[in-house]
């Protein structure tokens, strides 16, 4: 079956690619564009490792068709700190405050859920700049983590919220 030529706007860049209609956004990001920061953990929308932002809304890229992503603004983990991804010396780069908080608070262990967690956190903090603990936990309802027990992730998001939108 013939592929269709589409243009995906990812992290501000237009990518012109040929895709089969049955390709998911996750497959295109990872297998075609090698933007592998977005993970695939389950393929059924249950784990959140594949979370990206589509027009600033968090979605599961494994359940999103690539052809239907055309005309939307796609943001992946690579788009949160573009300088860091492009630059080989990570130590001296400015990261997104959410990323900094995840690192500082010990919210990262194996790191496989991390990009999805961070994208969900970004969506959460845009909706609710100063979430309480329950709101943070609810905001992570679509992201599973097997290493951390979530508590340090919750702490990290609260920490990032305070940095981005200080309450005092």
């Amino acid at each position: 079956m013939k592929k269709e030529l589409i243009t995906l706007n990812i992290n501000g860049d237009d990518h012109e690619i040929a895709v089969h209609p049955w390709r998911t956004l996750n497959e295109v990001l990872r297998d075609q564009l090698h933007l592998t920061g977005t993970k695939l953990g389950c393929g059924t929308g249950d784990c959140g490792a594949c979370t990206v932002l589509l027009d600033d809304q968090s979605v599961s890229s494994c359940l999103t068709l690539a052809i239907e992503s055309e005309g939307h603004k796609i943001t992946t983990i690579e788009g949160l700190a573009p300088e860091a991804v492009a630059n080989s010396n990570l130590e001296n780069c400015e990261l997104n405050p959410i990323q900094e908080s995840f690192i500082a608070k010990g919210a990262i262990q194996c790191g496989f859920c991390t990009p999805g967690m961070i994208m969900s956190s970004k969506f959460l903090l845009e909706q609710t700049p100063n979430p309480n603990e329950d709101e943070i936990r609810a905001g992570l309802s679509g992201n599973l983590c097997r290493c951390t027990g979530y508590n340090k992730i919750v702490e990290a998001i609260a920490d990032a919220a305070e940095k981005i939108s200080p309450t005092k």
């Binding site: 079956m1 089969h20 209609p21 049955w22 390709r23 998911t24 497959e27 393929g43 059924t44 929308g45 249950d46 959140g48 979370t51 809304q57 968090s58 979605v59 599961s60 494994c62 359940l63 999103t64 068709l65 052809i67 239907e68 969900s120 969506f123 959460l124 609810a138 905001g139 992570l140 309802s141 679509g142 992201n143």
Partner: protein, 291 residues
């Protein structure tokens, strides 16, 4: 797993969409948010030659309210939109609760209430409250529209009363009568984010003497389609609502439930939960009705 091969269709009008349904009858599936359809495709539970997206069809999104008539929820209104809609919160907050109880943040950002309804899964979160509130599904064949009372909409697991050439375009939810209240109750094996093992929607209307004038109770995940608790409803009619009558209604609802045992819960547990949740739903609904 990769998805099976299909031809993708994205019609830009309802007429075109319905014509495509007619043309590819038996070989076509519809997607809106896709959160259920993509999983079913991936598991090869369905293998259509054509997959048609509704997303490019204008005027299927949005939530509106007409005084005297009620709420209209468009086919493309997202779970998240219903969850947060001020109109829904004001007119039918339990629809928002049910939408919020559906799956996860990401799924609510993608999936639609209508999709949840049209999948006709017995455990769907959004169905019981819509049944309790006596909603109607607007179906269009591109030429003309008809309204299907929700009680007649579900024919079996995954099967609805939509004709092969019809698309469900909106859900109409009538305005609540005065002194009415609604509740949505759900229990699932994993405490917070989970598919329902049993869910109950209840609506009750009281008269000035505090007696039950109307009662509609819908039970999810306890039969091939959402079931009405007919015995309980009949029992309540004309009765003063007390803890005892509500408890008895719960017991009667459990009698009407016909659950199976599956990976989510056993038959016995589900029956007991129908009783508990029905009683709880009635209590909450009566509380709203009295205020």
């Amino acid at each position: 797993m990769t998805l099976p091969q299909f031809t993708f269709l994205a019609p830009t009008s309802l007429t075109e969409a319905c014509a495509l349904l007619e043309k590819h009858k038996g070989k076509i599936k519809i997607k809106a948010g896709g959160t259920d359809m993509i999983v079913r495709l991936s598991h090869r539970a369905v293998k259509p030659d054509y997959l048609m997206s509704l997303k490019k069809i204008p005027n299927l999104d949005g939530i509106s309210y007409t005084p005297g008539e009620g709420l209209t929820i468009g086919a493309l209104a997202l779970l998240r939109e219903v969850d947060l809609s001020p109109l829904v919160l004001e007119q039918a907050q339990m629809l928002a609760r049910a939408a919020h109880a559906t799956a996860t943040v990401q799924i609510r950002n993608m999936g639609t209430v209508m999709g949840n309804v049209c999948n006709a899964s017995p455990s769907a979160d959004n169905i019981p409250t819509l049944v309790a509130m006596n909603a109607r599904i607007v179906a269009s064949c591109g030429v003309k529209e008809r309204e299907i009372p929700i009680d007649e909409f579900f024919l079996g697991p995954g099967r609805s009363a939509l004709q092969a050439n019809e698309i469900a375009t909106a859900i109409k939810v009538p305005t609540l009568a005065p002194q009415s209240g609604v509740s949505y109750q759900k229990i699932s094996p994993r405490s917070k984010v989970d598919i329902a093992a049993v869910n109950i929607g209840a609506m009750i209307t009281l008269n000035d003497d505090g007696e039950c004038q109307v009662a509609r109770i819908s039970m999810g995940a306890v039969g091939p389609t959402p079931l009405r608790a007919r015995q309980a409803e009949t029992f309540l009619l004309g009765k003063k609502i007390t803890d005892e009558t509500m408890a008895e209604a719960g017991r009667l609802a459990a009698e009407d439930a016909a659950p199976i045992s599956d990976v989510r819960a056993s038959r016995e547990y589900r029956k007991l939960m129908v009783e508990v949740l029905t009683t709880r739903a009635l209590k909450e609904a009566v509380g709203f009705a009295k205020n």
